[in-house]
């Protein structure tokens, strides 16, 4: 059969399977949980956030904003651009949900092929489609599912901002909302590709999860805490795309494009490695 049709069929089947699978539900719930927490905090601190948008509050003076600064990093200029020039409701919401995105994306996509490799169910597919079609169909199904989760979250955040933000007009808020959605989705793709690779290498969803989360948390710990002790260790954080996600929403255009290109680069490398491992291994 022609390749695009096979990929499309597998994509649709994967999306549908995720809707009723534990990992699909859990991954979406994790994202919705983070979004819900952010929205509840924003609703409770609407006055403070509005003062921030009006320029009446130094971003570094508030505890809430200190959390945002800790998550997103960046200097005062970055925070001003993030929280004053754009709707701070969406920006804060984006920073919290972006923090959750690697976890949510990895949980959702931890079993693209792993169980099927382990229990040999993949053999039912191999006489019907090429290995590449199977890999890309399922990978894109996961990308679409996580994208839908991001869309739902971004829509909720935008609606909240429209109601609560007193200093930005609707068009500005909606534009930022669309941007935030795109940034969240893009930030999720390398993690989905990473889990495709882990699943294809291990052939077991639990091992894939252990490998994926272990790699993420290991690098975060070594690059983060180790970086306090030895400056050079900070560079280790760039083995994974985690530090890039906050740069996707704001900054100068060159910086955003660079972050987007680098994020896609990570996704391409992980996805290619995942596809290669599925193509070469015994099934």
């Amino acid at each position: 059969m022609d390749s695009p049709r096979a990929v499309r069929l597998l994509l649709r089947a994967e999306f549908s399977a995720l809707l009723r699978s534990p990992q699909g539900i859990l991954g979406a719930c994790f994202m919705f949980g983070a979004a819900g927490w952010a929205l509840s905090k924003l609703a409770g601190n609407a006055e403070l956030v509005n003062r921030l948008a009006s320029g009446g509050l130094d971003p570094e003076e508030s505890v809430l904003l200190a959390v945002v600064k800790w998550l997103a990093g960046g200097d005062a200029d970055y925070l001003t651009r993030l929280l004053v020039e754009r709707s701070p409701f969406i920006s804060i919401f984006f920073v919290v949900t972006a923090f959750a995105i690697p976890f949510s994306a990895m949980i959702t996509s931890l079993d693209q092929n792993a169980t099927d490799i382990g229990n040999r169910g993949i053999r039912f597919y191999l006489v019907r489609v090429r290995r590449g079609q199977l890999f890309w169909g399922r990978f894109l199904g996961n990308v679409l599912f996580v994208g839908s989760t991001c869309l739902a979250v971004a829509v909720a955040g935008t609606i909240f901002a429209l109601v609560l933000d007193a200093h930005h007009d609707a068009l500005e808020i909606m534009t930022t909302g669309v941007w935030a959605f795109g940034a969240l989705w893009l930030a999720a793709i390398p993690w989905i590709a990473l889990m495709a690779l882990c699943g294809n290498l291990t052939g077991n969803p639990l091992l894939a999860a252990t490998l994926g989360f272990g790699t993420y948390l290991g690098i975060a710990l070594i690059g983060g805490f180790g970086g306090w002790l030895v400056e050079g260790l900070k560079a280790l954080r760039y083995l994974l795309p985690a530090p890039l996600r906050y740069q996707l929403l704001t900054g100068d255009l060159g910086g955003i494009l660079l972050a987007a290109a680098a994020t896609l680069g990570y996704a391409t490398v992980f996805a290619w490695a995942g596809w290669f491992s599925l193509r070469r291994r015994d099934l």
Binding site: A6, A13, D116, R120, G121, F124, V127, R130, L283
Partner: protein, 309 residues
């Protein structure tokens, strides 16, 4: 007749273990072919290579004239051993996806799924998820997927194992009805099934094909008659048969209550059978069954144990 399977010098090792060591095999297109041998002989490895699940370490493999991983989707169907379906997705949805992936349009896929559900008596459970089905039902679903569309060749790894007698008969009948329309390659430990379904067999042992005879030749249907008796054969019975001019050799198996009679070359076996029956009636020896040729089971055991002796 062109070859459905052509294998030359096929080798496959798993670390230090040589699963296949220099297999040569030819399966004519359109025939129902059996692959038999003891556990660990290399049957599943060979099937996995034919289906493109694993790659050979060396040698050449062509299935329907192409390397396995270059076969057009849907031309080869496989019943893999111990493969599981996606747990939460209903049987009908999974079969419809498989049919569509074979290139069928949505409506045609739906019709074809209904056809195979009916063939394998699965209509009632079609909307259930595989994880709530019994082992036998899941096995039938796996068989059903192998009959979707119009594959030119079907590989069935232990198709009857785990089925109850009624379902086993149903699947046997299904394979017999489809035989001739496409090539079947079947592996089974139940030699009676292979004997019923296949016209040719390959015997594989320790990673090598030791023989590829016609089933009729292997079981010597033209030269041996086996009687299954109600009781162990009396001692003088073998001598009585041996006295007949057509008889070359008589083997009495007391525990199995069998009498195996080999006839001389050129003997009219049907005429000789009349004489054999007469001997039994005259000596009032009751028999349960008379069979031309040895059982395939005996023939395969003999063939696989011979090199070890």
């Amino acid at each position: 007749m062109s070859g459905a399977v052509e294998i030359r010098g096929l080798r496959r090792s798993f670390g230090p273990v040589q699963a296949l060591c220099g297999v040569d095999l030819d399966v004519p297109e359109g025939c129902t072919f059996g692959l038999v041998g003891p556990n660990g002989a290399g049957k599943t490895t060979l099937f996995s290579i034919l289906a493109g699940f694993i790659r050979p370490s060396g040698g050449q493999v062509r299935v329907l004239g192409r390397p396995p991983d270059e076969l057009p989707p849907g031309t080869l169907a496989v019943l893999p051993q111990d493969a599981s379906f996606r747990r939460q997705v209903p049987v009908r949805s999974q079969l419809e996806l498989f049919a569509k992936l074979q290139g069928l349009a949505p409506e045609a896929a739906r019709r074809d799924v209904e056809r195979v559900l009916e063939l394998c008596d699965l209509r009632e459970i079609a909307n259930r998820a595989p994880d709530v089905l019994s082992h036998g039902m899941r096995k039938r679903v796996a068989i059903a997927q192998a009959f979707l569309g119009e594959p030119r060749m079907v590989i069935l790894d232990e198709p009857i194992a785990g089925l109850d007698p009624a379902q086993a008969r149903r699947i046997r009948t299904l394979i017999q009805a489809e035989a001739g329309k496409r090539t079947f390659v079947i592996s089974s430990h139940v030699m009676a099934d292979i004997e019923t379904l296949c016209s040719r067999v390959a015997i594989i042992d320790k990673g090598r094909i030791t023989a590829q005879p016609e089933v009729a030749d292997l079981t010597r249907r033209g030269g041996v008659v086996v009687f299954t008796l109600e009781a162990a054969p009396p001692p003088e019975l073998a001598a009585a048969f041996q006295a007949l001019p057509a008889v070359a050799e008589v083997e009495a198996k007391s525990v199995e209550r069998k009498l195996q009679i080999s006839v001389r070359a050129g003997t009219d076996l049907d005429a000789a059978c009349g004489d054999f029956l007469r001997v039994l009636v005259e000596r009032r020896v009751a028999f349960v069954a008379m069979q031309k040729g040895t059982s395939l089971e005996d023939a395969v055991i003999e063939a696989t144990e011979k090199p070890a002796k």
